[in-house]
């Protein structure tokens, strides 16, 4: 393909180059006007006034707006197009949630104003918790965790607290090979040793291996269900039984709840503890990396150890229990400042109310239907490692690229030129060159058909041996492939003024 045409500015029509704010600032310029301050009687800084300038750039409001607008145009979001990023549930983010979370009576509330003045906010948290309890079929839910990973950690802390309360300190947590990286990292952060459990040829937990590993020092197993291969763990009830027989707890990573919401309640499967990512199943936006929210559902046996704070029903209204002794149980402490990701609860509750019990069930059905439709459309061109049907996501490996010289990464980059966000690649670790696609229920059949056609075309092109096409992809993006080795070898993690010789 021809080299990009050059222009004097470096811009190419709507593809506008945008320098750093630090290259645009001028001293004395600001995008904010402030009221004049009446002179106060001296300062109270105790001689600790900042010495020297900070070095922040000055931009006006029009420059600032243009800067971020131009940068936004270099991003791909769900609003831009199909985003089948497996395990991440990139579904449509309803704008109603943005509007309602910004109501002054919600967004402007201070976390420590008197409880009598936030009864509506406590009701909102309580309603959100109620919906999640009914959907999971579990009796208690901890609302405070900031994201899925923190939910995992809190769940494990509750497990460890319950074990220690019965005088049964245990050391190990079992984590399947296919698990997300946060699972072993959370187990470690809870003070446990991690032991990996292999998958069987059907992409599921190997019951024999599991039974062998279960022993009197196993505190818990962390299982994702449906798992990260997009498959339901068929033996789940037997797994729960075996885990409980060994005196251990059953943690379920609920990142994939979208596949079963409204159709299956984790509480009916023998699960003791499960986090939910409100930024996945419950449609709160990912915001380019966060924020999220990771409530954890708990079984009766773990509920007394739930961390502070939590909302309770008091004699005259809702009560926010912030300290041990104000409520029952043996809370494991506090895990986050204030009361959790309230703004996310608002969005998730608006979503759940909009969909309702009937709509949420339809969500699972359409999400699973869409994934199976991709599987059916692509199984002859790509290579599925496991027998279907799949749940809400479909896994392929790189056998269909064998001998072509094209890698999973190259294939993904070629998809970018077709206008799609690639699927999750090289995860899970249990198959070679993994491609994990999660279409979600908010995509139309027309979009899926176009995607299937494009991928079949790319697979055909790879088989025909056009390696250079793939290795040079993407070509039509604001930047082409970036040198990640250079970035890691000579880290430049911040702008520095010209002449600043500090080496990093």
């Amino acid at each position: 393909m021809a080299a990009p045409e050059t222009t004097f500015t470096g811009n190419r029509g709507l593809q506008l180059e945008e320098p750093l704010i630090f290259d645009q600032g001028r001293p004395g310029r600001s995008g904010v006007d402030l009221p004049a301050a009446a002179a106060a009687a001296g300062d109270r800084l105790g001689g600790l006034e900042r010495q020297g300038a900070i070095g922040l750039p000055g931009l006006s409001e029009p420059q600032t707006v243009r800067h971020y607008l131009r940068l936004g145009q270099k991003n791909y979001g769900i609003d831009s197009g199909f985003f089948p990023l497996g395990s991440c549930t990139m579904k449509h983010n309803p704008r109603q949630g943005e509007k309602l979370a910004r109501l002054s009576g919600l967004a402007s509330l201070h976390p420590l104003q008197p409880q009598s003045t936030v009864q509506g906010a406590l009701e909102l948290i309580d309603s959100c918790a109620h919906w999640l309890k009914v959907l999971t079929g579990m009796p208690a839910i901890v609302m405070s965790p900031a994201a899925g990973a923190q939910g995992e950690l809190v769940g494990l802390m509750a497990i460890r607290s319950a074990l220690e309360a019965r005088g049964d300190a245990r050391r190990r947590v079992l984590v399947p090979e296919s698990a997300h990286g946060t699972n072993p990292a959370s187990a470690r952060a809870c003070g446990y040793a991690v032991e990996s459990v292999a998958a069987n040829g059907r992409g599921r937990i190997d019951m024999d291996v599991l039974k062998e590993k279960l022993g009197s020092d196993v505190a818990a197993i962390m299982l994702t269900n449906p798992n990260t291969c997009g498959l339901f763990e068929t033996d789940i009830i037997d797994i729960a039984q075996a885990v409980h027989d060994a005196g251990a707890f059953f943690y379920c990573d609920g990142a994939n709840f979208n596949a079963i919401v409204g159709r299956v309640r984790p509480g009916d499967l023998g699960i003791d503890c499960m986090h939910l990512n409100l930024h996945k199943t419950f449609s709160t936006p990912h915001g380019g990396g966060g924020p999220g929210s990771g409530p954890v559902a708990l079984a009766e046996s773990l509920a007394p150890f739930a961390p502070l704070p939590y909302v309770a029903h008091g004699a005259d209204g809702f009560l926010l229990v912030e300290h041990e002794g104000q409520g029952g149980g043996k809370p494991l402490g506090r895990v986050k400042g204030f009361h959790g990701q309230f703004g996310m609860f608002a969005r998730a509750l608006a979503y759940m109310m909009s969909m309702g019990s009937d709509g949420l069930r339809q969500v699972a059905e359409d999400a699973v239907l869409n994934a199976n439709y991709l599987l059916a459309g692509l199984k002859d061109s790509l290579s599925p490692p496991f027998e279907g049907p799949c749940m809400h996501e479909v896994l392929f490996d790189d056998r269909f690229l064998a001998g072509t010289g094209v890698t999973t990464l190259d294939f993904a980059k070629a998809m970018i030129d077709e206008g799609f966000h690639p699927m999750t690649i090289y995860f899970p670790l249990v198959v070679h060159g993994a491609m994990l696609m999660e279409p979600t229920e908010t995509e139309s059949k027309e979009t899926l058909d176009q995607f299937i056609d494009a991928l079949k075309g790319l697979a055909e092109r790879a088989r025909k041996g056009d390696v250079a096409y793939f290795q040079g992809a993407p070509r039509l993006t604001p930047r082409r492939r970036l040198d990640e080795t250079l970035a890691a070898r000579q880290p430049v993690l911040r702008w520095r003024p010209a002449g600043d010789k500090t080496v990093e």
């Binding site: 990512n277 009937d358 059949k445």
Partner: protein, 447 residues
Amino acid sequence: MRYLPLTDDDRRRMLAAIGVESVDDFFRDVPESARLKEPVDLPRHSSEMEVERVFTRMAAKNLSPDTVPSFLGAGAYRHHVPAAVDHLIQRGEFLTAYTPYQPEISQGTLQCMFEFQTQVALITGMDVANASMYDGATACSEAVMMATRINNRAKVVLSGGLHPHYRDVTATMGRFLGLDIVAAAPDWQGKENPARLVDGETACLVVQNPGFFGHLRDLRPLADACHGKGALLVAVVTEPLSLGIVESPGAMGADIVAGEGQSLGNALNFGGPTVGLLAVRQKYLRQIPGRLVGQTVDTDGRRGYVLTLSTREQHIRREKATSNICTNSGLCALAFSIHLTLLGEQGFVSLARLNHARAVTLADKLAALKGVEVINETFFNEFTLSLPKPAAAVAEALAGMGVFGGVPASRLDPERSELEPLLLVAATETASPADIDGYVGALRQVL
């Protein structure tokens, strides 16, 4: 249903293409006993209008600090957020993007995070900052865990000026990791010397500036004391605007800075989501938790940005990662960054001065009331009052009169009777001269 594009006809054709009768076939791996035959016991779907009605009703049951004079702080500060901030973060290209794993189509998020990292490093006076943590409290506990990894020690000293939530979160983490967390008693007078608790076994001392009770302190003697014992100084900042006029922790010798960024660009949101800040000295870079954005070039030699040094992170290192964090506070960090871009050096410093001036004015007026004592000799935009009555009752009575007069210290540490008369009072630029006079009048009435 408005978020679902598939029609019944689409579904039929798709099932036929797949070659199954019904979607139930896809759920055949689910144990029969666990397959729900009917929708769960919750209301059915609702229109946008119906949902909005419920939310409007819940919102109306709260007393919004937007509608009354408000002097609440204690780690969460109400500031005026310029209209452009909220507009820009709601652009779908930022709002609905994922973590920038495909850099060619994520340069927007990546460049913004690179700018954010730089801004955080500049205001804290540190070498590098990460792309955000969940909030200030978890940033603090992550900073502590980082320190224990760096010098391989297990004792951690928390100053009595540390926000009680930060103390409690760090204590929870520490308990599960077998750390020895020594928390000093609440230092409401601003007189403690936590350096005396630092010994040769201490991994770090954690000090907040301005402190929870508002006092400012010179970190230099503490940094010297720590370094003399081989310990690190972790500085916590819960009001980043203070850095506009108060000397930065970096300039005063801190090794790690953990902070809460809510003050800039973010609404109070009843406490979340907010954005944790974490900045460190260059030499500790490889121990930092969370995501980092770095500069590089593309195949055409053009400047671009990528996520980097990810061998520290859970998706690569699993149980050996520096933290379990994955999703962070990206959009809140963007709001922080846009607000700081709008302010610029001049606006940031002026806004800090304005906050300080308002707080000084308020403190002087309150100090003139009978029985009211301002404890602080130094402060930025928040100080502690000692009242002749329990502060919680006073705050409740003031709220009844339509003034949020402050946060009673007992709300955070109810078991400590010495805190009962203490009220934390914050005055930001949002407190107009009329609000200030209204507050003084209301407090006079309540006492």
